[in-house]
């Protein structure tokens, strides 16, 4: 069975990313495929390279990155939601003439079409909202 998760809550504001991360590990632990985690609305803040949690607290960005590295889970970020919240990758920074960027691989800026495709391709899409 193939899963995708939709995360709409920001880290350190909402419990949604924590719940989604736990769910993601449980999905993989039960032998199901987790194809992608799609970050939307405030959830795009999970992708920021500049989020710096206090020592001793979970760094959600690193936890998502580890999920990608260990299990090849895609980390898709809605480009429209990201840009309007000040999250840009190198390509978007160049396009808009910014001197910095804060979204790096394995997080990928992508369109809402990707979310629709995931919904059609996967057997389950589970939403974690604030």
């Amino acid at each position: 069975m193939r899963y995708a998760l939709l995360v709409m809550g920001a880290p350190y504001v909402s419990q949604a990313p924590h719940s989604a991360l736990r769910f993601a590990h449980a999905v993989i632990g039960q032998g199901y495929d987790l194809e992608s985690v799609f970050f939307y609305h405030e959830g795009v803040h999970n992708a920021s390279s500049l989020v710096t949690p206090a020592q001793g607290t979970t760094c959600l960005r690193s936890a998502w990155k580890a999920l990608h590295q260990q299990y090849n889970v895609n980390l898709d970020v809605c480009i429209a939601a990201a840009l309007r919240r000040g999250l840009v990758d190198l390509a978007e920074a160049n396009r808009h003439g910014y001197s910095a960027y804060n979204v790096e691989p394995p997080f990928e800026l992508t369109g809402l079409g990707q979310l629709i495709a995931l919904q059609q391709r996967c057997d389950r899409l589970i939403t974690f909202a604030p």
Partner: protein, 95 residues
């Protein structure tokens, strides 16, 4: 059979009651995050209408000091939550 996922307690919003209103006879409902506070509201309709099909997230109960208020058979951990999502045809999140 659908799985309804609710993360807001009936005391603090409409999500739980709205989910309850559209629940089919076979559907299941899982209370996660702040929704577990529903266990403090004995008057919530869910407990009288569909208690045997409502499950409460164990980790979220424990984090709020409410574990002892819920019978073990009504609690689910994250692994059981995944199993519920797999055996229901679709999951709908209410927030």
């Amino acid at each position: 059979m659908l799985l309804h996922i609710v993360n807001r307690a009936p005391q603090f919003g409409e999500a739980a009651s709205q989910a309850l209103r559209v629940m089919g006879p076979e559907d299941k409902l899982v209370l996660i995050e702040d929704a577990v506070i529903a266990v403090l509201d004995q008057a919530w309709q869910g407990w009288t209408l569909a208690a045997e099909r409502i499950f409460v997230m164990e980790e979220d109960l424990e984090a709020r000091g409410l574990l002892a208020l819920v019978a073990p058979e009504q609690r689910v951990n994250v692994n059981t939550f995944v199993k519920l999502s797999a055996c229901c045809q679709q999951a709908i999140s209410w927030h």
